[in-house]
Symmetry: C2
Subunit: 203 residues, 2 copies
């Protein structure tokens, strides 16, 4: 056989080309031929790596989610700095900040739209949701540890509000990246925490 090729790397290259086509031309133009052209590959090579276009789409979304989870994991495993800094870092776990992250988040939105008519994509989205909830729970736990919330307090509503706030920022950040810079996000998170502290002093 020819030079044994890294099949994962190959698939990822096809997936990222798919993202590019979706970003530049829209998801309805994400055809095998267009993906092949974007990836500088032949149609046959794409077919050699994926049995159908459906599988390309599914793989492309699952890779987006993997990337998001990786970033979140990297942030939650970075134990440098104080716990207060850790809390602030965690609160940004989903927010797309640099160009690459914004593009990925935009592609994710396209997949989210399709997930309502594609059960496989819906499952992937649910997986993403499950992971996000774990991260938000970590944030809530850290808030309790740092005295932002009472430890005995039932924090279910606090959880949902924080999660909505974070996902809302994601939606806004990918629509107005010039406004939603990292420092703007920091400012909002600080204000959010300050408000929790202010009301806590009151009980």
């Amino acid at each position: 056989m020819p030079k044994k090729v890294d099949v994962v790397e190959r698939k990822n290259k096809i997936a990222t080309a798919t993202w590019q086509v979706i970003l530049n031309k829209g998801i309805d133009k994400a055809s095998i031929q267009n993906i092949a052209e974007e990836a500088n590959m032949s149609v046959g090579l794409i077919q050699h790596n994926f049995p159908s276009k459906e599988k390309i789409i599914h793989y492309a979304m699952s890779l987006i989610i993997d990337r998001m989870e990786e970033r979140a994991k990297a942030r939650s495993h970075a134990f440098s700095g104080t716990k207060e800094e850790m809390l602030r870092r965690l609160m940004k776990f989903l927010i797309p900040i640099n160009y690459e992250e914004i593009m990925e988040a935009r592609v994710w939105i396209s997949f989210l739209g399709r997930s309502f008519s594609d059960p496989e994509l819906f499952k992937l989205q649910q997986k993403m949701d499950g992971y996000s909830r774990k991260m938000v729970q970590m944030i809530i736990n850290l808030m309790k540890e740092l005295g932002y919330l009472d430890k005995e307090e039932d924090s279910q509503l606090e959880f949902e509000i924080l999660y909505s706030f974070i996902d809302g920022m994601v939606i806004h950040a990918l629509q107005r990246p010039d406004f939603y810079t990292e420092s703007k996000v920091d400012q909002l998170n600080d204000y959010y925490l300050k408000n929790i502290k202010r009301r806590k002093r009151n009980g």
Copy 2:
């Protein structure tokens, strides 16, 4: 000529058929032929009402936004009840609650995904954003009026947090409609307001 037909009604019927195809098969399957079948019309009739497929998509998104704005307007113009009730009603201005609203919000997400590669859709999305911001500002003003916020206070950060919270709930409501019932949304909004009040007592 034949029975003069209501051209707006006709266009809206095509637009809603487009929504259905997007919901059932995905935005990449929203072809003229599929839309025609869904609307029980001939391809020629679709073409008679729209010069191109592009225009159908644009019209379909603009109708979604009109519907959302209409609902928001209806809620903000309903002056029944106390101002506290009005505040709570306004906080739900974007949240999809019944089946129809959830479907519309899901279609909106599909258009949002495409808006990054279609300048016309992006403009429509910006229009929607502008309207939403007006509504959120109304809510902030009412919060000041009702003593939730200090009137002199610069409420820019408060504004962004509330707007993200609301848009985040939208994203969550259309993904988990069984969880995000209207009463759950009410509960979250009440808790949100209660927290503002608690911290305000402290200053």
